[in-house]
Amino acid sequence: MQITSFLQDKQLTIALSGEIDHHGAKATLRMVEEKIDQYMPTLCILDFRAVPFMDSSGIAVVIHTLRRMNELGGRLHLTKVPPQPEKVLRAAGIDRIVKLEGRELSHEM
């Protein structure tokens, strides 16, 4: 897992890249939290376009990031989530507590 981040007007975009499973989830979570604590954004956007696969370990990453953003009084969005990660997020009901925006083209029929 690699992350790159981009800050503009207190809006922090973090692009994740690679598969998210238990093997790498802890490190991913730590990297995301470090960025949030460094920049204290009001809106954090996790960009999933380069995450071809995630299992429920990814759900834990999203829930923790959401909790951290709530503590800061900010919001969390997910963007460009490919079909497989989206299915996992929906199966866990995460789409009801975090906004999924800018769907990947492959979703459209």
Binding site: E19, D21, H64, K87
Partner: protein, 146 residues
């Protein structure tokens, strides 16, 4: 039920093997000509079961995990993930969404995802002896040319 093909893998419960196990299952399943969506479901379910064996089955030791994939009549992929680890005290409770005995980095959604991505899920476990997760998934026959 008639078994048309099968493979068995054995590997130590190291987390680096999570990606290996799901990729191996997906490669084996490829002969059923699944869609990308079906392959994604299979990889996800195998990843959940293997991760559970690593994290919960063998919390502080390295043990052996067995992954068996079979193809049954009617385009059915049959998957078994087995560990000889700690076992589950109360399987019914473990299957509940959001139930976890794991730490902050677990979500408790593993079994829920296996259940919704597979057609069948059966968990048998004996405390101190280990856990077997048995899943089945029918792969749709796709009409047309090859």
């Amino acid at each position: 039920m008639k078994c048309e093909n099968q493979m068995v893998l054995e590997f130590p419960s190291k987390s680096i093997n999570e990606s290996f196990a799901r990729a191996a299952a997906a490669c084996f399943a490829a002969q059923l000509d699944p869609t990308l969506d079906e392959l994604g479901d299979i990889k996800t379910a195998v990843s959940e079961a293997v991760t559970n064996a690593i994290v919960h089955g063998y919390p502080d030791t390295i043990g052996t995990i067995t992954l068996r994939c079979r193809i049954l009549a009617g385009n059915v992929l049959d998957i078994v993930v087995r560990d000889k680890g700690r076992g589950i005290e109360n399987v019914e409770q473990a299957l509940q969404p959001m139930f976890t005995t794991g730490g902050a980095e677990r979500s408790g959604m593993g079994f829920t995802i296996m259940e919704s991505f597979m057609n069948e899920l059966k968990v048998t476990s004996r405390p101190g002896r280990g856990t077997t997760v048995h899943m089945k998934r029918k792969i749709q026959k796709r009409g047309g040319q090859s």
